[in-house]
Structures are given as C-alpha cells and as structure tokens.
Amino acid sequence: MNSKKLKTKDLIYAGAFAAIYIIILAIIVSVVGIVPIAYLMSPLFVGIICATIYMMYVTKVKKFGAILILACLFGLIMSSSGHFYSILGAIPIGIVAELIAKAGNYNSKKMFSLSYLVFNLTMIPPFLQLYLATDSFVEVSIEYYGQEYGDAIGNLVSTYGSMLLLMQVVVAIIGAAIGVTLAGKLSAKHFEKAGII
C-alpha cells in the first residue's frame, strides 16, 4: 500500500479544514474590517488565530500535496469573492510551504511552523488590488462603506504606498510566528492530552 499518496480520507480532511480555516478568516476580517487601519492589519490577526487550525491540519495529514490543496482552495474561494489576485499568489505560496514541510519530512514541528510563516503570506495577494488599482479600489470602498472609509484607505495608501505593502508582509509573518507559538501551546495543553492529534 502506498501511504505517501493522498487518499480519500486525506482529501476529506483537506476540505473540512479548509472550511474551518476560511470561516474563521472571514469572521476575523469582517470584524476588524470596520476600521480601515485594522483592515490592512488583518494578516496579523488571521495569522495569530488560524495557525492553530493549520498546524492541526498538517499534523493530521502528513502527505505531499496536503498544503497545496489547502492553498488552492483558499485561493479559489478568495478569488471567487472578488479578490482576483488571490489564486495567482496562493499557488506559488502553497508550493513553497509544501516544499518546506517536505524538507522536514512531514515530521518536524519546526519545519511545519516555518511553512506556516510562508503560508500566511496567502493573506497578501487579496490586498494587491489595493496597490495596483488604488483609485478603483477606493471608488468601490466609497460606494460600499461611504466617503469617510474610502478616503481613509486612499490616504493611507497614497501616503505610505509600497511601505504599507512591506509592512503587511512583515505583519503577516509576525502574526504567523505568534500564531505558531500559540498553536504549540494549545496542542500541548489540550489536543495531545485528548488524543486528537
């Protein structure tokens, strides 16, 4: 029996964990999205919270392709909800995260943690629209959330520009790092004891 290949069981886990990941992500983003600056910081919050879900998923499915499937589902869902760059970013990020986890032979916590630092960068492509087409993004925000909100976002982007993008990347990595530490603590405190992992 070839245990390295993804089987139906693993595919089911992939779909289910992706559902949890994206629902939690959507809740976080819609809560913080009310304040413009917090909206731009959402990779931080997502990294902190969703790391636990990711770590649980990779420790449950230790096979090549698992992380890539999660990344693709993530990209597809985000793209279908209007952030078209998501899928383009998610696939290479997924591949890199996958290779990092593979380098640890799907057995090292350190490599899994490292792969999440990369994986959390999937939060950046959805924002690319903001930088590449600022005017139209601001216009849409004004139509959606009113003048104040759109202006606030537009001002932030035009003042800081690519610095803001860089900051988002840094924040995403910091968030992922905090999240991974938290995930380690939670799994030692709860999940390992309960025999879930």
Partner: protein
C-alpha cells in the same frame, strides 16, 4: 408546488456568478435584480420559506444602505453602513449557496462532476468544503451559547483585553468537535466505498435539461450586464 430539480453543474454556475457579480456590483438596482433571480430559483427548488426570509432581509439592507448613502454619510453611520452593505453583498451569495448545497445531495453533486471528468483530488475536497461550512457554523453557534452560559460570552471587552484567551476558548472546542465530525465523515465515506480506485457507478440519472440551460443563460446574462 412541484419541485424542480436543477442539475448540480448549472446550480454551481449560478453560485460562481453570484460570487463574482455581488462582489463587483455596487449599484442597488442590478443587485436587486440578481437577488430576485436567486429567490425565484430557491422557491422553485423547494426552499420557499428560508428563501423568502433571506430575500426580505436582503431587500431591507439594500434599501437602508441606499437611504444612508444618499442622505447622510458621516463617521457615525459608517459601522451601520458597513453592516447593511455586508448584508447586500453577502445575502445573495448565501442564498445561492443554499441553492447549491442544501437542495443538492453530496452524492448527486459528485456524480455530476465526475461526469465532466474532474479528478477526485479536486471534487472531494471541494464537495466536503461546502458540505462542512454549515457544520462549522452550527458548532460555532453551540460554542458561543455554551460560552455565554458559563459567563465568558463573546464581548467586545473580552476580545480586546484577553484576545489570546478568547481565541483559546473558541478554537479548542471548535477544533475538537469538528475533528469528531470529520472522523465520522471519513468513516462514512469508507463504508460507501469512496476509497476504491474503480470507477463509481451511479443510480441517479445526471443530465442537463432545458431548464438547466435556461438558468445558465440567465446567470451568464447577469455577468455580461455587469
């Protein structure tokens, strides 16, 4: 009223169009037209009650958002505005989601997509993904009720002052119970022979009919209109 059974592929196309359309349309009128379209589909496929409730909520959100943006737009109406706009954008998407996944059985869904030769590494995670969304929501509801019962309910202060602790309170039960559900799903799928390498046979007759082409045309029409 007789129920019309649409093909899963046609339903799925409506869902995709709903996602793209609702995210990109900012004027109220086309949004209302699309909402009405999905509402009619929901009523036709046997979900008149929940469909109508969602439709009315959607209409209320649209009207309020329109009123606020034409008459007042200040810092203070911003959160309220965001709420109504979320309603206007997401409710049609949720309606079409219900249309696809609560009026279709998973086996029907998989049979239809196997017919267009999608590989199982694509179909299974995708089908499970959508099958699992309502489950996660149910678990979430249960957990927040249990938390409120113990006096640690989700409040702004608890999120703001003890974010990590709050995350722990939510994540640990959510993941534990979801993993339980997943294990059951896996067991059920093994029992149904999903794991076998042979080609699956299907009792249902899956084919596109006139009504399916009709709703696909309308959905694509909306996409053009945008």
């Amino acid at each position: 009223m007789p129920k019309i059974n649409f093909d899963p592929r046609a339903k799925f196309l409506v869902f995709i169009v709903a996602c793209v359309f609702c995210m990109n349309v900012s004027e109220p009128l086309p949004a209302v037209a699309f909402g009405t379209f999905v509402w009619v589909l929901l009523v036709l496929s046997g979900k008149p009650r929940s469909g109508t409730i969602m439709y009315l909520t959607f209409m209320a959100c649209t009207v309020w958002a329109f009123l606020i943006i034409t008459f007042t737009s200040t810092v203070w109406t911003m959160p309220l505005m965001a709420l109504f706009v979320y309603g206007r954008i997401y409710i049609p998407m949720i309606m079409s989601f219900v249309f696809v996944f609560q009026t279709t059985k998973i086996s029907e869904f998989m049979a239809a997509f196997e017919k267009i030769h999608a590989p199982s590494a694509v179909i299974i995670p995708f089908a499970i993904f959508f099958r699992f969304m309502p489950t996660v929501q149910e678990e979430w509801k249960g957990i927040s009720q249990a938390m409120a019962f113990r006096g640690i309910g989700l409040k702004f202060s608890s999120i703001f002052f003890h974010p990590i602790q709050t995350a722990e309170y939510i994540l640990v039960p959510l993941l534990s119970s979801c993993v339980g559900v997943m294990d059951e799903l896996v067991a059920a799928s093994l029992a149904r022979g999903l794991d076998s390498d042979k080609k699956r046979t299907c009792f249902l007759e899956v084919s596109m009919k006139l009504q399916d082409y009709f709703i696909m045309m309308i959905a694509l029409g909306f996409l053009m209109l945008k």
